[in-house]
């Protein structure tokens, strides 16, 4: 361990005179770093100041003159993070040094920026497109990139309401009329082998060992495969049963959530966040409303804070229940644990339905509060759940699974990640805590009213599959503790500090709101220019960033372990592909 410099006020400008300066734009904060000094600044931040966890990297297109790459790092010991940016002129080729050698967790995020913004990262180990397919033309998050059927930059689109009647623009614009092709492009003739670059990165691992030549087989697990929890694909090199090399492939569910987010007004984005991690719409809402509330600088109504906590923790419980159930499915237990898990989940979804109107896409949060109060009798139902049924459920799973011999022999000793690597790879959430790093946003940088509750950060130390399972049970129990307190303390009062409104006024500036979602740190980086729509709307998706280390986790393990590792990573494709 290097000794950490405990600085309350971090002054990068003083440390790197000339190459780092404070960001003085109104509403912005922290630092702008010179591109050439980036690697040095990043290394210093990590090694000297102890910002060991790179939370997110993203690009911003300040059309028409410059591009910006935004980095934010946190300390795993807690506290606020440091935000630093690199600005480059918006002239191709745009190049920025890669921070992947410093924080390996940046690998996929930098690939995403290359894919969507066309910013090249020099010194990146494997810079390929990630969400779009190989051979895609253009970089879709740039402000001057327009999709087919493009009409205007911001919603609501005027053309949709000519005389107050709804018109679908697809009807007006027949297919192809609005497509832009590169010069000399004939869609009938072109044939792109998008697979070759992927397999090229795998081939280097194909070796001949010893005297006997055995074939290494490249097998595709997914996208249409029962174990990958959606349309996720991993190209795997196998030596018999053992994984030699692995590359995740994603983007099958990509819809450019972030571009949609920039088109929408601030409030219109709320239901879209539901679709990210479709198991936990309640948590997704919260991250987004945190970020926008920070920008608007408003307080949240007291009762609404409690409602948010209750809903988010219930959501966490049902998420972990499903995870454990489906994990057993991945292990080959034929659906019994999964269906046992569904029992209580249904009850939780009943509560969501009674409160918000839908079971999964809740769209519950509003800036300054929530959309609806609890109907009559629901609080009693919640109380019954958290005092009785849910604790019993946790105990039931404990009895059913924890001591099962086959279960233990499959799970124990199969290392997912150790603490050091987990931090390096920016893994957050239960997987990080199972490796022995007590990092939970609810405690590290409390949001909402979490500082009022008495609960422990669940922690395990081995970082193997078994601990990853146990930590879910622990977290269910801690969530129940929080819920029990929240239900007792909940005050009466209004559920929103603001007046109901269709359009919110958001001052210019940037904000990063992050919460501890069931899958890890879920953050929203929102930039406003004072207009009704966000200029930039970035989602730090825990599923996406946790998957960065998948190859490191799986190499050397058995193919059966891959399935289980993917299971405990708890990815949801809606969030992974965005």
């Amino acid at each position: 361990m290097t000794t950490l410099v405990e600085t309350e006020t971090l002054d990068l400008a003083a440390r790197f005179p000339g190459s780092a300066a404070a960001d003085t734009r109104p509403g912005y904060s922290d630092w702008i770093v010179n591109k050439d000094k980036l690697v040095e600044v990043a290394t210093t931040l990590r090694d000297e100041f102890g910002y060991d966890l790179l939370s997110h990297v993203t690009g911003v297109d300040y059309f028409p003159d410059k591009m910006e790459v935004v980095y934010e790092a946190f300390k795993t010991t807690g506290g606020p993070g440091v935000l630093f940016k690199v600005q480059v002129p918006r002239v191709d080729p745009i190049e920025v040094p890669s921070v992947t050698p410093i924080w390996p967790g940046a690998e996929f995020q930098e690939r995403e920026i290359w894919d969507l913004y066309g910013i090249k990262f020099t010194n990146h180990p494997d810079l390929r497109r990630i969400l779009m397919w190989e051979g895609f033309e253009g970089h879709p998050l740039r402000k001057d990139w327009h999709e087919p059927f493009y009409e205007e930059d911001f919603k609501p689109l005027k053309s949709r309401w000519p005389d107050g009647k709804y018109v679908s623009s697809e009807d007006k614009n027949p297919y192809k009329d609005n497509l832009q092709f590169p010069q000399n492009f004939d869609p009938e003739k072109v044939k792109i082998d998008g697979e070759a670059p992927l397999y090229d990165t795998l081939q280097k691992y194909t070796t001949v060992d010893g005297g006997i030549k055995t074939d290494h087989i490249i097998v595709n697990m997914g996208p249409q495969h029962p174990s990958t929890h959606g349309v996720f694909r991993a190209a795997v090199v196998l030596d018999g049963e053992t994984i030699v090399s692995l590359k995740p492939v994603m983007g099958y569910l990509h819809r450019n959530h972030e571009k949609i987010g920039e088109r929408n007004t601030f409030l219109q984005n709320m239901p879209y966040t539901d679709r990210l991690d479709y198991f936990n719409s309640m948590s997704n809402n919260w991250g987004y409303s945190l970020a926008v509330e920070k920008l608007m600088n408003i307080k949240v109504a007291e009762r609404a804070e409690y409602l948010r906590v209750i809903m988010a923790e219930l959501s966490r419980i049902q998420n972990h229940l499903i995870l454990i159930g489906m994990l057993l499915n991945d292990l080959g237990a034929y659906f019994t644990p999964a269906l046992y898990a569904f029992e209580e989940r249904e009850l939780i979804l009943d509560i969501f339905e009674a409160t918000s109107g839908t079971r999964m896409m809740c769209n519950y949060h509003r800036f300054g509060g929530v959309s609806r109060d609890l109907p009559e009798g629901v609080l009693e139902k919640i109380r019954g759940l958290v005092e009785d049924r849910l604790p019993r459920k946790a105990d039931e799973f404990d009895r059913l699974l924890t001591e099962n011999e086959i279960f233990i022999s499959r799970m124990k000793g199969v290392k997912v990640m150790d603490a050091e690597d987990a931090v390096k790879y920016s893994i957050t959430g239960p997987v990080l805590r199972a490796a022995g790093v007590p990092y939970d946003v609810r405690r590290a940088q409390p949001y909402g009213i979490y500082d009022r509750f008495d609960f422990d950060v669940a922690l395990r130390h081995n970082g193997d599959l078994y601990d990853n399972y146990l930590i879910r049970l622990d977290e269910i129990r801690q969530s129940i503790r929080i819920l029990q307190q929240a239900v007792k303390q909940m005050p009466e009062g209004p559920i929103n500090s603001q007046k109901p409104q269709y359009q919110v006024r958001v001052p210019a500036g940037e904000a990063y709101g992050r919460i501890e979602a069931p899958k890890g740190e879920l953050g929203y980086y929102v930039i406003s220019t004072g207009k009704p729509n966000p200029w930039r709307y970035h989602v730090r998706a825990p599923s996406f960033i946790n998957i960065t280390a998948l190859e490191k986790m799986c190499v050397g393990k058995k193919i059966a372990d891959f399935v289980v590792i993917l299971g405990v990573l708890d990815i949801v494709l809606g969030e992974l592909d965005r």
Partner: protein, 118 residues
């Protein structure tokens, strides 16, 4: 005695006929809309790279060889078991020696790592 085997022969014939009829029924009534994409081998929806059948890991051969060794030894047990009561103590001693010889080979294979699946 031969009669008993004829009965089994009749069974085999019947079973084969039923299996062939089952496949025939499928061929007869099932729709046939062939296309090149449909007849591609399934690999999670991705066009497979490389041949589907190829050299297999050497581990499987090892298991096969070990199986042949030990299975023949199991076969030796069967006649011995039938006449064991006539052989008495002699039979037991004989088999003890046999098992010991077998065990030496088994321990050798174990120590050599032939039973490890790594």
């Amino acid at each position: 005695m031969l009669l008993e085997y004829i009965a089994i022969g009749v069974m085999i014939a019947l079973a084969t006929v039923i299996a062939v009829i089952a496949i025939g029924l499928g061929e007869l009534f099932g729709p046939k809309k062939r296309s090149s994409v449909k007849s591609e081998p399934y690999e999670s929806g991705i066009a497979p790279i490389g041949p589907g059948t190829r050299r297999m890991p050497v581990r499987f051969y090892l298991i096969a060889v070990l199986f042949i060794l030990f299975d023949i030894e199991v076969i030796f047990f069967l006649p011995w078991a039938v006449v064991f009561r006539q052989l008495g103590l002699f039979g037991l001693a004989e088999m003890a020696i046999f098992i010991v010889i077998l065990l030496i080979g088994y321990i050798y294979a174990w120590k050599k790592g032939a039973l490890e699946w790594e």
